[in-house]
């Protein structure tokens, strides 16, 4: 019940946004995420943006995965 993908908002017209997902573009509704801003990354599920993606956290996660040996069992 959870198929969702991250995408970047490249256009916003009131409650309708255009998102870019690795080059693929789609219109999604912002009815559930009205505060979403142009340029933000959001999680998209069945044509709706449902959550903002924290880019800082993305960076941290990627760093963590790359440097796992350092973070080994604290």
């Amino acid at each position: 019940m959870c198929l969702a993908v991250p995408g970047k908002i490249i256009d916003k017209q009131d409650m309708l946004a255009t998102v870019d997902i690795s080059g693929v573009q789609r219109k999604v509704s912002l009815m559930l995420l009205p505060e979403a801003k142009l340029g933000e990354f959001v999680l998209i599920h069945a044509g709706f943006a449902v959550q903002t993606i924290d880019e800082e956290e993305v960076k941290k996660t990627m760093e963590l995965f790359k440097e796992l040996e350092q973070y080994a069992d604290k």
């Binding site: 198929l3 993908v5 997902i21 690795s22 080059g23 693929v24 998209i44 069945a46």
Partner: protein, 336 residues
């Protein structure tokens, strides 16, 4: 099969399609040539070894990025013939056109067909045109049948895969399927995603001239790479393992699949081919492919093993192996 009516899944190229053909259609015509279960029929007439194949094209939309129904109708059948290790020579074409269809569109399609035929080096030598009432078909349906001469000394057969062989693919997967369905699903694809529809006869001829011992050739069309590999694994009674990290799928195609819940390994391609060949010839095959316009992204994607018999496994990016089954019905967009 217990269903009483044809469903869309029967046309998807997956297991349900296979069952329809195997259990209902083939038995009606049973004969040895049909029994070979290859992409086309192979037979001998007056000493000449020939390959013969047919396909019908009902794609919607008619015009899509990278091609149209006409180009598809020529390339599809040319490729089917070529996959028999044959040089495609002549095509027939049958049109079933809906009343009210635009003559301009028809001309566009015909021009496309001729362009593809010229590139493929084939002649469209006979045909038929039928017109039906509005609503009886959706725009236009095209059937093409093709005949070609099997190259001397070549025996390509789905039963020839053997343990130890490499499996080589000539390029990116899923572009055709996405180019065709993007409009339907409200996706706007980047310019780079176009149908890969292309005539592969020339590439096949070059490969066979240099490496006549190529065992299997097949184009992963409907049902995708996964289904085609399963068919070969079953026919040859071998196991196949492919490496996820080596399978070429563009970012955009992967993204579209992620959005809709599709798996690129099951999407149709119209300009791709698989080569099964003994490892010692792999460098040569790759060299020829990469030098060819339709093989620049060629690479080895897997190998043939003894076991598990008739099964295809995918080694994933994290090192696990999962069963890669045949397409069951058709892929539907999902939210789960």
């Amino acid at each position: 099969m217990s269903v009483a009516r044809i469903q869309m899944a029967h046309g998807s190229g997956g297991k349900v399609s296979h069952d329809l053909v195997k259990n209902i259609i083939w038995p009606a015509f049973a004969n040895d040539i049909l029994g070979e279960m290859h992409d086309g029929a192979q037979f001998v007439i007056g000493g000449a070894r020939l390959a013969f194949s047919t396909d019908s094209y009902v794609v919607k939309p008619l015009f899509f990025p990278g091609g149209d129904i006409g180009k598809l109708a020529v390339c599809g059948t040319v490729n089917d013939v070529a996959m028999n290790g044959a040089v495609p020579l002549y095509l027939s074409v049958g049109f079933v056109i809906e009343e009210g269809f635009s003559i301009e569109d028809l001309k566009r399609i015909l021009a496309s067909m001729q362009e593809a035929a010229a590139e493929a080096g084939v002649y469209i030598v006979t045909g038929d045109t039928k017109v039906v009432e509005k609503g009886a078909v959706d725009g236009i349906f095209i059937n093409t049948a093709g005949i070609g001469k099997i190259i001397d000394g070549i025996t390509i057969n789905g039963k020839n895969a053997k343990p130890g062989q490499d499996i080589i693919l000539n390029g990116y997967l899923g572009d055709h399927a996405l180019a065709v369905m993007s409009e339907r699903h409200g996706l706007e694809l980047p310019q780079s995603v176009k149908s890969d529809c292309a005539p592969l006869g020339d590439l096949v001829a070059s490969l066979l001239a240099a490496v006549p011992s190529i065992a299997v050739l097949r184009d992963p069309t409907r049902g995708g790479l996964a289904t085609t590999l399963n068919e070969i694994a079953l026919q040859s009674e071998v196991g196949i393992i492919i490496e996820e990290k080596d399978i070429p799928v563009s970012l955009a195609v992967q993204a579209a699949c992620d959005i809709l819940g599709f798996d690129p390994l099951y999407l149709a391609n119209e300009g791709k081919l698989l080569v099964f060949v003994d490892k010692e010839y792999t460098p040569q095959v790759l060299k020829i492919m990469k030098a060819h316009k339709y093989g620049r992204e060629a690479r080895v994607i897997g190998t043939v093993s003894h076991a598990p018999c008739g099964q295809v496994g995918l080694r994933t990016g994290i090192g696990g192996i999962r069963l890669l089954d045949m397409l069951m019905g058709d892929q539907l967009p999902r939210i789960c």
